[in-house]
Symmetry: C2
């Protein structure tokens, strides 16, 4: 076993929550315990704080330092992380959505094929159950495009526009933007010679062509700002207005990052304003609050809730 390999193996052992006595490490690594002590020193020099407890029953373990050490995962752990990241990508968390994708792309790149297969099948099996209104983005497309953005490679894909019109695209992908529960891609369309925004759940059969392109500055300088503005201008939006029979702090906690505008009416109720592009989702969030509420509008939401209420009442009133 080479020098670097032994150091990595040691790091992997020390990342376990348990404590390792030096003698056992020496045996596993096939060296003397003096060398183990030297290896531990080396790791400390690299900035990874190996904690040691002295005395009988003592041992070594890796503690939290100032920088992330290399993570040494076994097969199952790698699969678990990949599945977790894929699920996270379907419900982007504000602030870390892009980092989450970068991590997924990095992992996907080095994931052995047999593990990648397990990830796919597990993702398929659990896709629908996580949340009925999570984004329908295919994680595979997301990964391909996230990789292409970083590698600055051109991408070809099929796009199903809003009216069901399909088209083939050839673009220079500049940035992925998570807006609410959807992913958008800001890209420069090579054939149309202009900027375009694509909704990722309408993208399919994406492939990176391998052709590199020069960095482009997004219109207006900031991609996130540009996509946000364009989407609010063009996409259909519903502005929900409702009164919730729930103290304002509780409502904020239950709605979390979906809170919208909340303001207290009295100690037991508050008003709520929120903007979304489907009434389904608005109705879903409202009904999962578990409290009484009154909806002021819009009419589409009222109608949708009326249908929902009738359906539920009808489902039981035969008894």
């Amino acid at each position: 076993m080479s020098d670097a390999a032994r150091l990595l193996r040691l790091l992997s052992l020390l990342q376990t929550p348990r404590e390792w006595p030096g003698s056992e490490l020496a045996e596993r690594l096939g060296v003397t315990s003096r060398t183990v002590r030297r290896d531990v020193d080396r790791l400390r020099d690299l900035g990874y704080p190996v904690e040691a407890t002295m005395g009988a029953l003592g041992g070594y373990r890796l503690g939290a330092g100032k920088a992330m050490p290399p993570l040494l995962l076994d097969d199952e752990e790698a699969v678990a992380i990949a599945v977790g990241l894929r699920t996270a990508a379907r419900q982007p968390v504000a602030g870390i959505a892009e980092a989450s994708l970068r991590a997924l792309a990095k992992l996907q790149q080095v994931l052995p094929p047999r593990l990648a297969r397990r990830v796919s099948s597990l993702t398929a099996a659990t896709a629908a159950s996580a949340s009925p209104f999570a984004s329908l983005v295919d994680p595979a497309q997301l990964t391909i495009i996230a990789g292409a953005v970083q590698a600055r490679e051109r991408v070809r894909f099929a796009y199903a526009a809003q009216e069901g019109v399909a088209s083939k695209r050839h673009v220079e992908p500049v940035q992925l933007v998570a807006l609410g529960r959807r992913w958008y891609l800001l890209a420069f369309d090579v054939e149309r010679d202009d900027w375009r925004i694509f909704r990722l759940d309408r993208v399919s059969t994406a492939v990176a062509t391998g052709a590199r392109f020069a960095a482009r500055v997004a219109p207006g300088g900031d991609a996130t700002e540009y996509v946000t503005r364009k989407m609010y201008e063009t996409a259909p939006t519903y502005r929900a207005r409702a009164t919730l029979r729930l103290p304002v702090e509780l409502a904020r906690a239950r709605l979390a990052d979906f809170a919208g505008d909340l303001s207290a009416l009295d100690d037991d109720s508050c008003t709520w304003h929120s903007v979304e592009d489907t009434v389904d989702y608005l109705a879903f969030r409202l009904t999962s609050l578990g409290c009484d509420f009154t909806v002021q509008g819009p009419p589409e939401l009222v109608e949708h809730l009326r249908v929902m209420g009738e359906r539920i009442t009808r489902s039981v009133d035969s008894l």
Copy 2:
């Protein structure tokens, strides 16, 4: 920079989706390009397949091999993975739930404190929004106990039993078991000198004492099997029976791992049987199917749905 440090730094660069020409790597690592070639060879000897494209515009990148290479994450990526794993722990996925926890424990152990703080605040901000019926387990408790299971350390915690009776426990934690959407801990209670099963969302202020204990064999040999049997015997369960106006394949897809027993009635409808310990959750899954349905029982579910239906109808019929 030491030898091993340079190798790790190289590995970190090669994990990026982009391709790196040898000359640029040499510059970044502060060595000649001949040494870079030797380092690449070393990585290949370690089993990490560095892919190289020859010719002009060529370069190096890390490909998928037979084993997982050490993952070198930047701060944001590490936070994203931790948040993803915490979310995954709240909605355990059959088959990889334990691995998911192991990975989380491993990451938590080495996560720099400033990043750990960001993870906590992000988790708090998004806890409620993921799904209103996800498990209420505190990821911090979960991590502490998962670590103690692996390290075979005794744990003390406060436990709120079903009737609201609080108690302090001192146990030897043997295994965490994910059952449906809940986590259970099988442990040997030191003071009561017998096996006990704890629901993790009722555990608080857990601390590992540091005292080690000898490995124990779970009663019956298999912890998962034991916990499953005990829980079905003792925990309250509701057996939902309903007819769904949805083709059976579609229902299976939408319910995913929550499918229970589905059997086709005709081309457009099917019957559904499922067991859960709360009617809230049964009602939630039923109403998020987005189809007409008829509930046969149990009476508690019917009553719950009646309240839900009335609430929704009331919320709009003033208009």
